[in-house]
């Protein structure tokens, strides 16, 4: 693999990791499988692209894309906690509705950002190479997100959100309105996911209404790869593990593409990869039992022979 491809994969992994961190918050901390992701990611892209095209500062546009994602998360949370719609279905409803919303925002299915100012071009216009600029944007935004989340999950409110996903009956008994915590978690998560979409639109040079498809699988794969390979003993460690998982995931993708796989096969690959990751604990156990069995049989044979 050429170095430039590797560097591209690392930058992309960093930008995607903001989405993966959002997925980590719902899936791992809140214990909530949130499909809003597939709608809030293109929502962020749509808002950022449309605002930049309307002449707004790209940083303002990026910030507003995050706010839009937070609103989407709030809707899902409201459907789930106040209207008592099951969590999976709440996400599906938001995701489906957002498809129309995104088209409304964009006005058409694809919105190119040709020769527009972006958070990346602001740097590259100052003489920094584009690939380096992407890396800088990625590193800074990831570090800021991690710093804020690390602080937040160490606060009283952060504790309450973590406990809500862990044992909601217990934290309710301690006086926490768990419905509010679920909503808050979804708001933060989808804000980050839309932020990722907003930056990614500027990196790719377009927003597309179909760009959300499969994002939940990409996010989950990053979370699981990160957790399995880099541990999850604390919140800070988990957050960095998710980022590393996301980067590793992009490197795997870049690798198979360089070996001749066509981009349209990537979604299947993502699914297979995630399925393998999710079944790792079971595979590990079966393997362990298998080894034990062989070992046990050998011992028995030994006894007979003696």
């Amino acid at each position: 693999m050429r170095l430039s491809i590797l560097m591209g994969a690392v930058s992309q992994g960093l930008l995607w990791s903001i989405l993966a961190i959002g997925v980590y918050i719902t899936y791992k901390i809140l214990d909530y499988a949130d499909l809003t992701t597939e709608g809030s990611y293109p929502l962020g892209a749509a808002v950022a692209a449309q605002m930049i095209l309307s002449g707004y500062n790209p940083f303002v546009a990026t910030f507003v894309s995050m706010i839009a994602g937070m609103a989407a998360g709030f809707v899902t949370g409201f459907l789930n906690t106040k209207l008592k719609i099951p969590s999976l279905l709440s996400g599906i409803l938001s995701m489906t509705g957002l498809y129309s919303v995104n088209l409304r925002i964009m006005g058409k299915a694809n919105l190119p950002l040709l020769k527009q100012d972006t958070v990346i071009s602001v740097l590259s216009d100052r003489g920094i190479e584009t690939s380096t600029a992407v890396l800088i944007v990625g590193i800074i935004s990831v570090l800021v997100v991690i710093a804020i989340l690390w602080w937040f999950f160490g606060t009283e409110k952060g504790f309450a959100i973590r406990a809500t996903g862990d044992n909601s009956a217990m934290i309710r008994a301690l006086g926490v309105n768990t419905n509010s915590m679920v909503i808050l978690g979804l708001v933060i998560s989808n804000g980050l996911i839309a932020l990722s979409g907003g930056i990614m639109a500027q990196y790719n040079g377009y927003a597309d209404v179909g760009m959300g498809t499969g994002t939940i699988v990409i996010g989950l794969a990053s979370v699981i790869i990160g957790e399995v390979l880099f541990g999850h003993s604390s919140i800070l460690r988990s957050l960095f593990a998710v980022v590393l998982g996301s980067i590793l995931y992009r490197i795997i993708i870049a690798f198979v593409l360089s070996k001749g796989l066509v981009p349209t096969d990537l979604k299947l690959l993502s699914s297979v990869l995630l399925a393998v990751c999710l079944s790792l604990p079971l595979i590990k156990e079966k393997l362990y039992n298998f080894v034990e069995k062989i070992h046990g049989n050998k011992q028995k044979e030994g006894e007979v022979n003696a």
């Binding site: 937040f152 160490g154 606060t155 009283e156 409110k157 952060g158 504790f159 309450a160 973590r162 406990a163 862990d166 044992n167 009956a169 217990m170 934290i171 309710r172 008994a173 301690l174 006086g175 926490v176 309105n177 768990t178």
Partner: protein, 265 residues
């Protein structure tokens, strides 16, 4: 301190599984009362505790804690009055969070949670003292996740969490039933000690008649969603298991208690 008036709760209303869990439950607790609650399976003991804690709203009746009408108050808003320990040791703590983090959350029971630090240095040293009091060696494992602890250790921590802010009312729902006899005895002794030292008002459900007689200053026996017997402080001093059985037979209209789990203990 606590007042229940004609509390009624029917589960599965209008379905084939309709069950009157609480029929007309009334009793009053005075400050410092330690009431033990016994009764067979389905008598309504746990349901009574859950109704007080606000896990569901009652169909009819009135609940008052410390002079406040809480009948319509949701669970998380009643939490400021109530400390709870559950039967299942897994229920009482957030298992992916450390001992000290769990204690810190319990310290903020019923208070507004903002963006202040979830746990402070002073709190940690305070928790160390509390844990030393438990005498289980947990003071040196404060950053251990509670999921890694034994059931008895977790129940002891849950008890500490429920009582360290001295709640107006302590609800114990068979909190030693899932423990082995030796651990159960230790947790029960700890319960007795904490209630006595902090002069707490407590309601304890148990399946063990001897414990019910030995502990507390009052005893309530429930049957089919009603309070069948309410033994006052004077009478409880001389109460024997045999007396209790006789009272049950008489009050329930000659029903036999042979099949009831409460006799097994």
């Amino acid at each position: 301190m606590l007042k229940l008036q004609n509390v009624r709760k029917v589960f599965g209303k209008g379905t084939a599984n309709e069950k009157v869990a609480l029929d007309k439950v009334s009793f009053t607790m005075n400050p410092g009362d330690f009431i033990t609650v016994i009764g067979g399976n389905g008598a309504g003991k746990s349901t009574t505790l859950n109704a007080i804690a606000g896990l569901f709203f009652i169909d009819d009746g009135y609940i008052e804690i410390d002079g406040n009408d809480v009948t319509k108050l949701p669970e998380h808003k009643r939490a400021k009055y109530i400390g709870r320990v559950f039967q299942d040791p897994r229920m009482g703590t957030a298992t992916n969070m450390s001992i000290e983090e769990n204690l810190a959350m319990a310290l903020r029971r019923g208070k507004k949670r903002g963006l202040h630090k979830g746990i402070t240095r002073e709190e940690k040293s305070k928790f160390r003292e509390y844990l030393e009091m438990l005498d289980l060696g947990l003071e040196n494992r404060m950053s251990t996740k509670t999921g890694l602890l034994s059931g008895g250790q977790r129940q002891a921590i849950t008890l500490l969490m429920a009582t360290m802010t001295k709640p107006q009312l302590l609800l114990l729902d068979e909190h030693t039933a899932a423990l082995d006899p030796k651990t159960a005895k230790k947790v029960l002794e700890l319960t007795e000690k904490i209630i006595a030292e902090d002069k707490l008002t407590a309601l304890m459900v148990t399946h063990n008649m001897r414990d019910a007689i030995k502990l507390g200053n009052r005893l309530i026996m429930m049957h089919k969603g009603n309070v069948l017997i309410d033994v006052c402080e004077e009478d409880k001093k001389y109460l024997q298991v045999a007396d209790l059985l006789k009272m049950f037979e008489k009050a329930s209209g000659g029903q036999n208690v042979d099949n009831d789990r409460m006799l097994l203990n």
